[in-house]
Symmetry: C2
Subunit: 319 residues, 2 copies
DNA sequence: ACGATTTACGGAGACCGTAAGGATT
DNA sequence: AATCCTTACGGTCTCCGTAAATCGT
């Protein structure tokens, strides 16, 4: 197998028609170039250049060799360009998935930042619940996803990097009658329609322990909705109660159009993580995305902590 | 510049999906393959394979790399094939030139032998006088030629390899009246029409010294003809006298349809050589052709010597 | 004598194979 | 235990640069 480097040297030498200039252009010493060409000539068993002072030219054989060398060297430098692009994230695709909460909190911010920095990367984002995302991941439709991980942690094919947990809460309109009560518990909340995304078992289990089987049979309103925007609108326009985290509703909180219901059971926090296949190396784009995501997450935590420390919306626990 | 050998290794490994098998197929030890792949991954700054026992697969990056590697490796092995062909003379062109005498003596035999051995080489032969051949050579229309070299030897751009000299002679029909004379000189010959190819100066000079200026002004018949076949036919059908060497007329000599005129001045011998540009390396085909040519020349000399030693057609000297 | 190319020498790095060391099943 | 991959070590070969020699004008 002929080394690509030496072919490049042949091409440059043929263009320059002079060992010294070619060597300079190739960042080689001139004797080195001579020896390399000689070695190649010896290796292939035939003269490539006819040397005459000031009149260097290709032999018949050399012409043939140069024709091929041009192809090879060009393909090779194309590869190197693409490697550089790949590593510099100047091209490529990034398919990723996210649960509904990450989608409207950290991901929307991260995608914005990532796109500013690497505008040539085509991002395809899929918002779905953790179960469907898991399927997409196994089928390699997405490189990784961020979602509730409480039910995935035992899976041996997955590699899960936990994210900072965010406190969750119920929220409602500012003028909601439930807020008039001194203390509020789950049953109080359940007097009203609740708008919930697909819930993890740990949540369902909680409901099951808190509510007697008789009460369970009583029909209580329950709107399943994975879409945060919709949830917010419903909450604003009805007595329904939503569930969320700070960043999902921060605008409405600051507008004072909604309020956090002061009922904070310990389980109400996100257990989110970055989920990828153990066997699969992330693309540089994905790695970069994740590092931006981590910065965004940190920022979110700071904002969140700041908000809760300045308001009476204390939460039971955090982290 | 990424080494082509390692790209090949990536391709084989990707096909085999197993380091041990790939290493075997590549005639490498298995740890060496591991290290080479690792080194490449480190060099390009990114993982190429995701390794899992029994489940080796390409990363995104690896897929991109393999796409390019296939192009490069394929171009490279194409080159190596063509080099092998070139050196084995399994393809290519051979443009060569020759004077009229070599054309019908050694060259016709050599071309036959060469073509038997290297039937895929396309031969283009040009028959012309040494002057026109010289021009063709300078313009690189031919790689080399064989012809009279007495007037080219001083040329510093040429490299001339002399060939064995052949004795030249005048010849005529067996029943030609000139043969009745006891001794024959130039003037006797010049009583008849002479059929001559383009003559070198050394020949002209001889004529000039032998013939007085008065005699020169007398018009003597002189047919310029570079074509040996034509010359023979004219000699057979007239009293014209031809000039030639043994192999040109050996058939007619053996048929006893012509005879050599017993007049052998010392200068009448070929001064032929292989002529090429000093600056130009001969193609392998040309080199092979020349080595066959040399064998043929040796054979011709043997036949020639044998003939002259068995007949009364003694010649004055031999080169 | 001068410009261009080649040879000679010593050292740095690439690459190989053997042997031993994990890891996963 | 078996299979597959990786690490460690020591030796060879390639390739480099500097310095000196050779070639052709």
């Amino acid at each position: 197998m002929i080394n690509c480097r030496i072919l490049k040297q042949v091409l440059v030498l043929n263009k320059e028609k002079n060992f010294a200039r070619a060597a300079l252009s190739l960042h080689l010493s001139q004797p080195t170039l001579t020896r390399n060409i000689q070695a190649l000539e010896e290796k292939v068993g035939y003269k490539i250049f006819d040397r005459a002072p000031g009149n260097l030219k290709l032999t018949n054989f050399g012409q043939m060799l140069v024709r091929h060398a041009e192809k090879i060297v060009s393909a090779s430098s194309q590869l190197e360009n693409e490697i550089a692009q790949f590593l510099n994230l100047q091209a490529g695709h990034l398919n990723l998935g996210m649960g509904p909460f990450p989608a409207e909190t950290s991901f929307s911010r991260t995608i914005g930042l990532f796109n500013e920095q690497f505008s040539k990367i085509h991002i395809k984002s899929t918002v779905d619940n953790w179960e469907n995302l898991h399927t997409l991941l196994l089928n390699e439709k997405i490189e990784f996803f961020v979602a509730e991980t409480s039910e995935l942690e035992k899976n041996k094919y997955l590699e899960i990097t936990p994210l900072q947990s965010h406190p969750g809460f119920f929220y409602c309109r500012t003028d909601h009658p439930i807020l008039e009560k001194m203390t509020i518990n789950l049953k109080d909340c359940m007097q009203y329609s609740m708008i919930l995304p697909k819930l993890p078992k740990r949540f369902i289990n909680f409901l099951n322990t808190e509510i007697s089987s008789r009460e369970k049979q009583k029909e209580y309103a329950y709107i399943e909705c994975d879409n945060v925007g919709m949830t917010n609108k419903i909450v604003l326009n009805s007595l329904a109660i939503g569930i969320g985290v700070y960043d999902l509703v921060s605008n409405h909180l600051q507008d004072k159009r909604i309020k956090i219901i002061p009922f904070h059971p310990g389980f109400m926090k996100t257990i989110h993580g970055i989920v990828k296949l153990k066997s699969h190396t992330l693309s540089p784009a994905a790695q970069e995305f994740i590092s931006i995501l981590n910065l965004v997450e940190e920022e979110l935590c700071t904002e969140e902590t700041l908000y809760f420390s300045r308001t009476s919306d204390a939460v039971s626990e955090k982290g």
